[in-house]
Amino acid sequence: MWKTWQAIWKRRRFESDMAEELAFHLEARTADLQRKGHPPAEAKRLARLELGSPENYKEECRQARGLRWLDELRGDLLYAFRGLSRNRAFTAVTLITLTLGIGANAAIFALVNAVLLKTLPVDKPEQLQSVYWVLPYGRPTFQNNASGSSNRDGNLRVADMFSYVHFKKLRDELPHEVELFAYSGIDRLTVTVNGQAQLARGLGVSWNYCRGLGLRPPLGRSFLPEDENVDASTPPVLLSYDFWRTAFAARQSIIGETLLVGPIKTIVVGVLPPGFHGTQPGEGIDVLLPLTAWGMEQRRDITSPRTWWVKMMARVQPPYPVPLLRSELETRFIAQLRSEPVPTPYDLPTIRLIDGSRGLAWLRDAFEEPLKLLMLVAGLILLMGAVNVAGLLLARAESRAAETASRLALGADRLRLIRQHLTESLLLGVLGLLGGLCLAALLQSALPSLLAREGEIPLIDIAPDARFFGAALVATLGIAFLFGFYPAWKSSRLELTTALKRSPGPRAGRLPLGRTLTGIQVGLSLLLLIGAGTLVRTVLNLQSLNLGFKPERLLIFSADATLSGYRDEQALTYYARALETLAATPGVESVAFSRHGLLHASSSSGEFYYRDANSRLQHIEDAYIQGISPNYFHTVGVPLLAGRDFTRLDDRKAKRVALVNQKMALLVRPDGASPIGLTLYQNDKGEEPVEIIGLVGDAKYDSLRDAAPATVYAPFGQRGIRQATFSLRTAADPLSIAPAIRRVMASVDPRVPIYGLRTEEEQIGIAMERERVLARLVTGFAALALLLAAIGIYGVLTYSVARRIPEIGVRLALGAAPERLRLMILRESFPPVAAGLAAGLIAAWWFTKLLEQFVFGVKPLDIWSVAGALILLIAGAAIAAWIPARRASLVTPMTALRYE
């Protein structure tokens, strides 16, 4: 290999050396011959004669040096370029097809890469391990107060939260090869910049978080052990690079300044490196506080071993084995749990370590399946494109048969011919790749919004990396080989005698492979069209669901007064004042708030018991609770069926009351009798009674797909509230009063920022974002597939018509009617289309099965989707076939004769 490269670099030297060497030979030989008595001119001639043709030997020398392939490659490339520029229509169609196919794949792969494959932008991410505990599902746990995520894995529960106390002890006990660090969940908080409160995303971290991740702040310092002291009066704060740039205009002097984070006065000590967005890809962070300060800000009992709220990660330096770390953690953790006094016995957990190189991410969990599906669909599109290109190449190879035959007859090497064709395919592939990459780059900025959740676009690093380019190149070369090889191989295996006869017989125009390919394309587009139909129907189903409330003219926004330092009673007063002010705003018909917004993917579940007919205490499974203000049901449009609504008098001093929905009423009164007057208890000892004072209709709560859950509505005045989502029924277009609402809320208290200001209808759109995005993409892909299939049909028939013009001429001369000719050509498209439809229908059954988890209220092979897809496809095929058929009927005997 090295020799070959050397040979290429020293090409020029090599040629001149070779010439000189042969010249020397001739000279020496001539001299010798002269010495033997030949006259000078004769000697020279003889010497030349003996040596033979120098070019011949030079060529053999070059080949000996491994240079021939280079010459041939150059020749092949030139030939391919010439061929492509001569055949513009072919080149354009091929390149557009490849650009669309490769572009779609590159765009989707960029997402797959960013969400599923990329590692954290930290030092040696492969050394990171995330720590989880595992218990059999449904077993009692040992926490009092937990905040974190827990997932079900088979019959196991896998959770990521620990107590700060446990973490601290474990960190101290582990050997020095292991850096155990901890961080909290990301939460909203307010940061006061230039006297203006703004919402930011905050994270609490142990002091060694930066050291564990290998982050070196480009400005200032990271945290120190003493920063984790509980009694620090002004805790330090780290800013993310992006937040430093946007909120502080990248001001270097920020270090050492005080910053109000929530109610806490902090000192800015450093800025995190650019590109780092925490260990949960997709969720950005703005400020980092020490875990202790963060815990206190969130009013967590950080000294209690039963308050579980920190996540742990470990960096394991290589010779130290990861399994050893796991067993070490487990023994020490269990020893700690055993030493603590607990009220009720519980099972002891085991520890599980999960590769932490890519961080932990809801993004990955939520989008792994849809992304894989999209990748598959994009792959199918590319395959279809390749099939089209193969068809075109094949058609062209046949039309070039005479040329190929002459070349073969003149002694061209078959292998060389194949290589020449493949070079052309590769050239097409590489050009398509360039186009595809440009297309993907255009799509790049729009891509992350596909993964939007709750209207927030995740922060993902979609920039291409080596893996992206590698995959694009490999896929392109693979596909180029795929579509190039068969036509190349086929054209090199011509039967010389038949090919050299100029006029092809009628059989020659049939191109059986082309039809098979058409069938495959028809099948693929049918499958995608049916999939698209199913997804579109899902979106329609979700849109027409009975919500139980009226989303029209409903404006919503959220606020959290506790983030700005309001405590309990103060917060209640704030919210009550906000309600009054909003109600007096022109354009607002009615206003109320609730603890959780409607369809905001957040909810609270409540523990409720009731006394049955035998006065035995019964537990209610799966009851949801919603804290609300008076006038809530009237505002959001949930009907009050019996009893009364809350009033402002239902506060902490009054008797505890609640309203229930019909589902809940059926749980406590299975006989269907009115639940009003019944008492609910909030623990299993029959304490904390709550009287049911009203019955309301069932309404969706947190999720669009789930049926309305059994819900208990409690007055906010009796439950207390942190965050609230306001709902305003407006007289006209809700968005028209949005600016006024911002002003009103700022007048109530400028330190409390509002967020998520939008209409409830927009919120519903957000709740079905994934389905809508998927439907849009698959529909786009299906349209592309349909277009490709139509081009395929058109191409095959056009080619066939061109080949059959002499035959058509003869038929015309013999008196065939144009309609008959049209039908003859049209009929050619029937078998492949019919076969493709049958195969596509079978494949679509499998495909819609795959889609099942994204589908709502649509069965696999849904009849409407199938019918719609069939109609579209048949119409598309008919149009594509009609054009060449018409052309055939317009042939006159004269043009046909001229063709001969």
Binding site: M18, E21, F24, A28, R29, G52, Y57, E60, A64
Partner: protein, 117 residues
């Protein structure tokens, strides 16, 4: 294929490489010198196609059996001189051994008579 006269022995395929290696093993030579030396050591019995010599030389050089260097010839001209590399020496030994075995076997085969069988 070039024409050959009947009186010259036909060069068996693969033997040119062996002859070149042998010729160069007797001392560094330029291309024309290699030709002359082969003619000399074969007693002019083998007809060497002059042009075929160069592809053979280039092949052996690329393979690493020969090393080439530009030097000055006897008549004060710049010429490319070939020397045998250790790899070339090894190949020469191996090929010579193979050749000798082939010759011995052929000889034995051609001497065989009906009685000996």
């Amino acid at each position: 294929m070039p024409q050959r006269s009947d009186s010259d022995a036909e060069l068996l395929p693969g033997t040119l490489d062996l002859l070149v290696l042998k010729a160069v093993s007797l001392g560094p030579q330029h291309g024309y010198g290699v030709l002359l030396r082969i003619e000399q050591i074969t007693g002019n019995a083998l007809k060497i196609e002059q042009g075929a010599l160069y592809p053979a030389l280039y092949k052996l050089e690329t393979r690493g059996d020969l090393a080439a260097e530009w030097g000055i010839s006897d008549n004060n001209r710049r010429a490319k001189f070939y020397t045998l590399t250790p790899a070339g020496r090894k190949r020469l030994r191996e090929q010579a051994g193979g050749w000798n075995r082939l010759v011995a076997a052929m000889e034995a085969a051609l001497k065989a008579t009906a009685e000996e069988l």
